[in-house]
Amino acid sequence: MIEPPTMFRRPSDPSPPLEPLRGGNEIAELHRAWARMHPPSRGPETLWRRLRGKWRSLSSRITNGDDRRLLGDLVRAVDAAAARCDTLSERVANLEVTVDDLARILGEEVTRLRAAVEKTSESDPG
C-alpha cells in the first residue's frame, strides 16, 4: 500500500497583511513633535525678527546644536527603517501567498499523480 501524504506542521495560509509603518501613529507623532520644535516663522520678516532669529539659531547651535542634529538624523533614520520594513512586509506577504499557492497547487497535483500511479500499478501489477 502506498504511503499516505505527509502533513504540514503548521498551516501554509498567508497571514493578514501588516499595516504600513510609515502611516502609523508612532511615526506620525514623531514628525509632529519635530515640527513643533521647528515652527515656521509667522508674519512678515522684519529686520528685527530676522536678527532675533539669527541670534536664537546661533545660541541654540552653541548650546545644544549636536542634540538637534542627532534628533534630525534619528527622525530620518526612523523614516528610512519604516520604509524598509514596509517593503519587506510586502515582500513577505507576497512570498506567503506564493508558498500557499505552491502548497495548494503542487500538493493537489502531486497527490492526484500519486493516486493515478497507484491506480495504474494496481491495474497492471506486472
Binding site: M1, P4, P5, T6
Partner: protein, 337 residues
C-alpha cells in the same frame, strides 16, 4: 398495540446485550423492542442464572456463563424459564455455543440471527434477518428504526464556525493521537487543499485543512455527532458498523450522502442511491470528488434521504415488518401450529 399472554413468544439469545457501545447491541435492542409490540419477548444473556435484572422494558435473564464470560455449554446452561416449544429464537451473534444452545433447547427451531452466520457449513441453518439491502433480499428488507433528532440540523456544532465540510468517521480504534491523521484523511486533506476535513475519533473531532491541523473539538454526545453529520457536505465512513452501518443511515436521514468502502455494510446504503463506494485511496479521492459536485451531491442526498426514511425512519412500519418476518401470516386453508 401491546403483547398479551396469548401472543407468540420470542426468545432473544443475546451475547451483546450489555455491550451497549456496540452496534450489535443497539440493533438487538431495537429488534427486541419491535418484537415486543406483537409478541412476548424473553431476553437471555450469558450472566449468572440467578442474576435476572430489569433493563428498560425487559427482564434480562441469565443462563449461566463460561469462565471466559461467554455462553455456557448446553449441558451447563440453567434455564430459569424454559422457552415454549413454539417460541421463535433470535440469536444476535450465532456463535458455536449460541447455536449449541439453540440446537439443544428447541426441537424444531424457528430461528433467526442478527449478525450473519460466519460458518456457512453450520449444522443448524440460521437465516439472517434482512436488515440491509443486498442482492438476494432486495425486496424483503426489514430495515431497522434508527432514530435521529431532526433538530440537530437546525444548529451546527457549537465548537465549529464552518459548515459544508467533509466529515470522516475514523477507521482507527481506541484513542489515537490526533496527528498524524488516519491515512484516508491524509489523502483527502492533501487532495482537497481548501476543503475542511473533520475526522471524528476517540470522542473528538479534529479539523484539518490544507494538510494542517486547525483545531480539535469535543464530541460528547450523539447529538454532537448528528450536528456534525447534518451540516457536512459528505460523510465518509472508513469503517462502517458490521450490522447496519448505523452512522451511514443517520447521515442519510439528515440528507448528507455517504462514501463507504466496497464490501462493507455501509456500501449497501451507498449503492442504494445514497452515495458512492471506494476500494482504495485513489478510489476514495474519486468518490469524494464526485460528491463535491453540487449537482451530484444533491441527487445522492435526495435519493439517500428518501431511501433511509423509508427503511430506517418509520418505527411503525418496522414493527409491522418484524411481526410479519417472525410470524408470517398463515395462508388461508392451513392451520397454524
Amino acid at each position: 398495540m401491546s403483547a398479551t399472554a396469548t401472543d407468540p413468544e420470542v426468545l432473544v439469545l443475546s451475547g451483546s446485550w450489555h455491550k451497549t457501545k456496540s452496534e450489535l447491541s443497539f440493533v438487538t435492542r431495537v429488534v427486541a423492542g419491535a418484537a415486543s409490540r406483537t409478541g412476548i419477548v424473553n431476553v437471555v444473556t450469558p450472566i449468572p442464572a440467578d442474576a435476572t435484572e430489569a433493563d428498560g422494558a425487559f427482564d434480562v435473564r441469565g443462563i449461566g456463563q463460561s469462565p471466559d464470560g461467554d455462553w455456557p455449554t448446553a449441558g451447563a446452561a440453567r434455564w430459569t424459564r424454559r422457552p415454549s416449544l413454539g417460541a421463535t429464537w433470535i440469536l444476535d451473534e450465532p456463535t458455536d455455543r449460541a447455536r449449541e444452545l439453540l440446537a439443544v433447547g428447541a426441537t424444531q427451531p424457528i430461528a433467526y440471527s442478527i449478525a450473519p452466520l460466519a460458518d456457512t457449513h453450520a449444522a443448524v441453518a440460521l437465516p439472517t434477518l434482512p436488515l440491509i439491502p443486498d442482492s438476494t433480499h432486495s425486496s424483503h428488507v426489514l430495515g431497522v428504526h434508527v432514530p435521529i433528532n431532526p433538530l440537530a440540523g437546525e444548529h451546527r456544532h457549537g465548537g465549529l464556525g464552518m459548515t459544508g465540510y467533509i466529515l470522516v468517521l475514523t477507521d482507527r480504534s481506541a484513542n489515537p493521537a490526533v496527528a498524524p491523521p488516519t491515512d484516508g484523511v491524509a489523502w483527502l486533506t492533501s487532495r482537497f487543499h481548501d476543503q475542511y476535513v473533520i475526522v471524528v475519533e476517540g470522542g473528538r473531532a479534529a479539523v484539518w485543512r490544507g494538510r494542517a491541523l486547525r483545531g480539535v473539538v469535543e464530541v460528547d454526545t450523539r447529538t454532537d455527532l448528528w450536528r456534525l453529520m447534518a451540516h457536512a457536505h459528505i460523510t465518509v465512513d472508513l469503517a462502517p458498523g458490521d450490522i447496519i452501518a448505523r452512522e451511514c443511515i443517520e447521515s442519510l436521514r439528515f440528507g448528507t450522502p455517504v462514501v463507504a468502502p466496497v464490501g462493507t455494510t455501509g456500501a449497501a446504503h451507498a449503492q442504494a442511491g445514497g452515495g458512492v463506494t471506494f476500494t482504495d485511496a485513489p478510489g476514495l479521492l474519486d468518490a469524494v470528488e464526485q460528491l463535491l459536485d453540487s449537482t451530484e451531491r444533491a441527487r445522492c442526498a435526495g435519493r439517500g434521504q428518501q431511501y433511509a426514511e423509508a427503511l430506517y425512519g418509520d418505527p411503525a412500519a418496522f414493527v409491522a415488518k418484524i411481526a410479519r418476518a417472525l410470524w408470517p401470516p398463515v395462508p388461508s386453508g392451513q392451520v397454524a401450529h
